[in-house]
């Protein structure tokens, strides 16, 4: 009799435990890491982001002893909006994915944001740059992590103009990201008394920038703003050196430069570049510890800001899922905005009503070869921009979610 009672009690306990779990769709929290696995952004995101997501899951389970069943899958969107939306659609519709993370390439990010909204799932973007994701294209199912074009423009752009670089010529990657970056930087330049003397749209992606660089040279602008990223940026910088552009007195402004880019350029070419990022492996003890763990599993390559963003966003997502006791996209998004964020990579921050994650930004200058003590020791800190100044203020936001 006692045995029966015990079994019944155990069964009841399981049932209750099960009920709490029952709101997690099919008992699994499934995270999909969608990014460029083989193309020009693969070093900045790619398999490294997948690794970061898996590390976040491991660390979360270890730290909290959570009993959630969590799965992580990855896919390559090849930087094409149609490929990306097909994968997103299929993931949400048939593969039971609950949250899509990363998604570099702004045109894909915008498409996935739409689909997440339609299906009531969640899209936590660390890879796209366009500030429209928390601006006019914002929605209740999309959260924008790591960085955006407004932050870049106000970090790098403002610093350069204040330093005397007041005439600009833009080389812009011809898609959503490039346009957004050009737009946001142009606004900063003109606000701070500078002038944009010309711009040229470069096909995305491009291998040979020679004719565009010549046009920039002919414009005699003091600053050639590179509104592009990844391979496009490194190619433009290398070729600018080939064609003696910097020798002629013009300076290059890499508006979006990641650590892997500096690594592939080499300090000889990249020294003196000013750039803004929200994460650097060598910032403090916590970032150093995590980054070394990451590099050990990533063939010695240190993490980029985006990969760190994936780790941080997945951690916060899992916390929110546990707190909200559901993996319903819209509800978890609300929870993510409610809970403050705290992780070893970005420190303390929060997610605003418009879906924008807030944390401090850092203006870095690339070291001279003589100043560097080894591989990946590339940045020196020039300034810290506090969280509440680093991103577009809510008052200027075009996001309909923000109550004015």
């Amino acid at each position: 009799m006692k045995r029966k009672l015990l079994t019944l009690a155990a069964a009841a306990a399981c049932a209750f435990g099960g009920a709490a779990q029952a709101q997690i769709s099919d008992n699994t929290v499934k995270i999909g890491v969608l990014n460029d696995m083989s193309g020009l952004y693969s070093d900045i995101t790619g398999p490294g982001s997948l690794l970061a997501a898996r590390m976040a899951v491991e660390d979360y389970v270890k730290a909290t002893g959570s009993r959630l069943r969590i799965e992580v899958v990855g896919a390559d969107h090849q930087n094409k909006p149609d490929v990306g939306s097909n994968i997103a659609r299929q993931w949400f519709d048939t593969d039971k994915v609950d949250m899509i993370a990363d998604v570099p390439t702004s045109s894909v990010g915008l498409a996935v944001a739409q689909i997440a909204r339609e299906k009531g799932k969640l899209h936590v973007n660390s890879g796209s740059a366009t500030s429209d994701l928390s601006g006019k294209a914002c929605n209740a199912n999309t959260i924008h992590w790591a960085y955006d074009t407004w932050m870049l423009a106000n970090g790098t752009g403002k610093a350069i103009v204040r330093n005397g670089g007041n005439t600009w010529f833009f080389l812009t990657a011809d898609y959503a990201f490039g346009h957004a970056l050009e737009r946001d930087t142009e606004a900063v330049v003109t606000k701070n008394g500078g002038r944009v003397v010309g711009k040229v749209r470069t096909p995305f992606p491009t291998q040979d920038f020679s004719s565009f660089l010549l046009q920039a040279q002919a414009s005699k602008a003091k600053i050639i703003g590179l509104a592009n990223a990844g391979g496009d940026t490194t190619n433009s910088i290398k070729q600018a050196a080939e064609f003696g552009i910097t020798r002629g007195g013009q300076n290059l402004a890499g508006l979006l430069v990641f650590l892997p880019d500096v690594h592939s350029l080499g300090l000889n070419v990249a020294q003196g570049l000013m750039l803004t990022e929200t994460f650097y492996w060598d910032l403090n003890d916590q970032t150093r510890a995590w980054s070394r763990r990451f590099a050990a599993a990533n063939s010695g390559k240190m993490p980029s800001m985006v990969q760190a963003g994936v780790y941080s966003s997945v951690l916060h997502y899992l916390k929110a899922v546990e707190a909200a006791k559901t993996d319903d996209g819209t509800k978890v998004a609300e929870k993510m905005k409610e809970l403050p964020t705290d992780d070893p990579l970005f420190g303390k921050g929060s997610v605003r009503a418009d879906g924008r994650k807030i944390h401090p930004a850092y203006l870095f200058e690339v070291k001279k070869p003589s100043e560097s003590k080894g591989p990946y020791d590339y940045y020196k800190l020039a300034a810290t921009i506090p969280a509440n100044e680093a991103f577009r203020p809510l008052s200027e936001s075009e996001c309909p979610l923000v109550k004015k």
Binding site: S38, D76, K80, P81, I87, R89, A111, D174, F204
Partner: protein, 296 residues
């Protein structure tokens, strides 16, 4: 075939099936020109893509109902086909193919630059709208019936064209153009008409596809898309009626299920091309037709 497509959505993801049907229609239209007319167009993607952009724009910016968006897309590609056809028909063989390629590239670059196409971003968030103002196509099953109907209508139309006096003359021209001329037929007019029909139906496929995926992008006007439709027709069987449908099903399925393997899709497609050209020229349906000794 009708039966297969009507009950398949119970097991198979309907969006996948709709993709197959759109490409099948595209391939059927292409086959009309190649298999029955003997004209290889290397730029057919321009019809798929531009109709896709047209209908996406119509649905999103002008708020047209889906049936009108598709019609508008078809109309645009019909006009485009007439213009391109009149220019291209004057030459034959490889030169014809090259002209269609050149004109398709021009359409590609136009799509890249024109502001309304959104360049690399494409036209996103295209609303599916309400069919006849009443049936909400956001529901996948409703959309499926809509696409299915369009596919069947298009297919029947092509079937009718092939099994008509016009179709016979077209085949005659394919076999021996000079003889057809000596019989008194104005071969250029027939070829142009075939081109226009082919282009228009390809446009219908494209217009429908952009509503299914709610996205019109550069991939649909890129020359590799023109190459894919050739592959579908070749694999399925040139000059057969059901061939392109089978070919489209095979190629789209392969792309879908091998997608995780990334570049393998391209490799497998290449291998299929090579194998088909060397050993398997009749294609799937062609081989079956040869075996059962009945035209398919």
């Amino acid at each position: 075939m009708v039966l297969a497509f009507s009950i398949a959505p119970i097991w198979v993801y309907p969006i996948f099936l709709m993709k197959v049907m759109c490409f099948a229609l595209f391939a059927c239209a292409f086959n009309l020109l190649l298999g029955f007319g003997g004209l290889l167009s290397f730029g057919h993607a321009m019809f798929l893509g531009s109709a896709g952009y047209a209908s996406a724009h119509a649905a999103k910016v002008w708020g047209l109902n889906p049936e009108f968006a598709v019609l508008f897309g078809t109309l645009c590609s019909l006009v485009l086909a007439y213009v391109v056809g009149s220019l291209a028909i004057r030459r034959q063989g490889i030169y014809f193919a090259m002209i269609t390629l050149a004109l398709a590239q021009m359409i590609f670059f136009f799509s890249l630059q024109a502001p309304f196409t959104g360049g690399e971003d494409g036209i996103q968030s295209v609303p599916r709208g309400k069919l006849f103002g009443v049936i909400d196509l956001a529901d996948n099953m409703n959309m499926y019936m809509f696409v299915f109907t369009i596919f069947i209508l298009g297919f029947l139309f092509i079937w009718r064209v092939i099994h008509s006096p016009f179709g016979q003359i077209l085949k005659a021209i394919r076999e021996h153009q000079d003889r057809a001329t000596s019989l008194g037929y104005d071969t250029d007019k027939f070829k142009l008409l075939a081109f226009v029909i082919s282009g228009a139906i390809a446009g219908t496929a494209g217009a429908t596809k952009s509503l299914v995926f709610q996205l019109a992008s550069l991939t649909d006007v890129h020359w590799s898309m023109s190459g894919e439709v050739v592959l579908m027709t070749l694999v399925g069987g040139m000059g057969t009626l059901f061939g392109p449908v089978a070919g489209a099903a095979v190629i789209v399925s392969m792309q879908n299920y091998l997608a995780q393997l990334g570049a393998w899709v391209t490799i497998v497609q290449g291998v299929i091309f090579v194998v088909c050209v060397l050993a398997f020229r009749r294609g799937i349906i062609g081989e079956i037709a040869n075996w059962i000794k009945k035209p398919l």
